[in-house]
Amino acid sequence: MEQKTAPVLEMRNITKRFPGVIANDNISLTLHRGEVHSLLGENGAGKSTLMNILYGLQQPDSGGIWMHGKPVRLQSPADAIKHGIGMIHQHFMLVPSLTVAENVALGLRSKRHPLTNLKTVAHRIQELSEKYRLQVDPNAYVWQLAVGERQRVEIIKALYRDASILILDEPTAVLTPPEVDDLFVTFQQMAANGRSMIFISHKLHEVLQLSDRITVLRHGRITGETFPQETDRRQLAQMMVGREVQMAPNKSEVRPGSVMLDIEGLFAPGDRGGDAVRNLRLQVKSGEIVGIAGVSGNGQRELAEAISGLRKPRAGKVQINGTVLRTSCPKSARKAGLAYVPEERMRDGAIGDFNIKENLILLDHGDTKFCRPSGMLRFAKIKEHCNRLVDEFNVKTPDLETPTKHLSGGNIQKLILARELSGNPKVLIAAQPTRGVDIGAAEYIHKRLADERTRGTATVVISEDLDEIMALSDRIAVMYEGEIMGIVERDNASREEIGLMMAGVQRLNAA
């Protein structure tokens, strides 16, 4: 079938250079009717550049685009839309104060121009939503919708414009597993109706589940093209990174010790009032990793901040190694033995304008080992300490004087981890430890977390990435709307059960 007709889309020998770097080096990509073609690659591999070229946002330096066998020039997103290309962005492009129908009609010329014809639009949305099982109320305001619903609105927007080619840029990043499953049914339905899709993701199992064909990019070049039935996660990861990747860290046998972190009846306010964390109870023993799963925005960040003293809890208490923490006092939490790898690593975790050295001594610059009684810093000692940390944690940097903001996300995260672990903590909270981090660094960070477990640290890993949670945890707690829906032993955990708890459908009584 594939050979009979010209491909819907052909990108031929696309090359795009930016000063000092080749973002796309002679990339060719074809897409057939009804095909889901996955594009896999790490941050900076050139996926976004390629898709920006396809969507008319950037022009290639050489190479061209053919559609249905004819060359086309896509000089703006308007051109791309005209040619039936739709893009579903990772970050939703919706106006919250407008209804679904208004959002869909936005930017389209109404048939009754200059008047609107929202009724017709709403009617058509209804049709589409039935056809593709995309449940959405056209008259609901976008701000009322949950993330999953907003995602559907984005897809409907593209379908409404009759896009025959859809670029799906990490569409599952914010969804729960059941929502992902529903979404995939929709995508398959769309493919069956002859629409073609380019699916961008770094979640390997999703790529394997959904694609007809997989293209892997690394450093702007194609490193492999394969089919899901001929490959597996390990091989895909290897193509992405260029070497063997260990998918889950080796965890040694550790018998959990005494309770190191004890949270009781914790209530913490959210940013917009109300309680983001409600009556939370959790105990973590030394030598144990508890994973906190959940769709982001269900109180995980507030929980981490309340434990670390950055957010004042409304009620409840937190004990570390037997010491009850003073509320809203990061220093007392640290003194008790807490280390915290924050979710917002460039806001809370490190200072971009500080160099490596300065960020590494952010916590203990006042200690006698780094500071004379006169208040003068001991630079020789500091340098020695920092060099050791940089070596030990494999932070890739030209030197200690490099501004931290010039490092890659993975290296910044390793730097933060180095600093946090250098004080031999009793309790470690790691929030989204590998988000936006390349596979190599993620692998390393996982290994360090597993090492901390062996050392006897009580660790809490908060992550949206269920694979990460499953790979690291001894026990898994699922958070939904500020509460723990249930805690399961890793060995008895099923993705389905966790998915239902993440969606708030099912609750387990405390494990």
Partner: protein
Amino acid sequence: MQEVKSKVTSWLIPIGAVIAALALGAIMLLALGAEPLSGYATMFGAAFGNLKGLSATAMKSIPLLLVGVGICISFRANVINIGGEGQMVMGALWATITALSFPHLDSLMLVPLVLLMGILGGAVWGAIPGALKAYFNVSEILSTIMLNIVAVQIMNYLLRGVLIDPGEIERGTRIPQTARLPETSDLPLLFEGLRVHLGFVIALLAAFAVWVLLWRTALGFKLRSVGLSREAARYAGIPVKRSIITALALSGAMAGLAGAILVFGSESHRMVTDGSSTGFTGSAGFNGIVVALFAGLHPLWSIPSSLLFGGMLVGANALQRAAQVPSALVIALNGLIVVFVVSSEFFRRKLQQHHSARQAIEEDSRLTEENVGS
């Protein structure tokens, strides 16, 4: 190599800003009926052309430098101190009152004592808006400006009241000034026949001390972390509120020292005002901000920066005498330099962003290349 390139541009930018400002100033000189080239020659000749001029320039630069290095401290902690004027006044008042109260102390005791009181007076006047900011989230920009006015009114009240020279009352002239302060409080001159005094050396030492403070001590490290990211500092357990107060107090201390030096290094050896808001300070509390910004908030660069702006003040006076060009021209020139520096800063940042984005991409590909190799 890129490092070198960025160093060169960071040098060129302020120089370019000065040249651009002078070029625009030339048009203003023409409009005022003066010949620009000879006008500038007069200005720079008077300020830097001979020993007397250099001495006068150094004198003018003292308060600018001290206020400027204070500004370096507070701005580095991301606290905006517009209160240099008031802090200078309060430092001068505390020092003056101390000198009048202990007229019999010898010079070795009295000079350090009055300078210390100047430092304390300024520090207290700086700590007040600091505490308001830290505990009640009052904008320090507003509170420091308002405290300038309060300080000037206190000064006017005292200089017209209890501190007034009894001679002024006898003569009935009632000029708001103190009596001649004890001679043991005079700042010693550095060279025979030149007006420049010990205050200049103190200001240079203060600039160096502030550099040490900011880049060599734990306290400076804390202040800079708070300045760059309050969130990250708080998360690291650094007391953010206390740091804000400390930054403003230290900044005020430098301005207070400037005020005290202004009194004890003056030719009349009195504290004098003309009743206007900048009558005592000569606007050094504001111009010090310009000095610090021009120096890129670096205390050591503030030294040449303060000499430049001090020299312009001296030069503008000379120009006024020689060509009847109002010395207010120098205010316009200062303003132009600031505009050019600030806007070039904008371009520099853009350049840098561009640069670092590119560097990040390069670095990333290089490192992953290494990864592949390993």
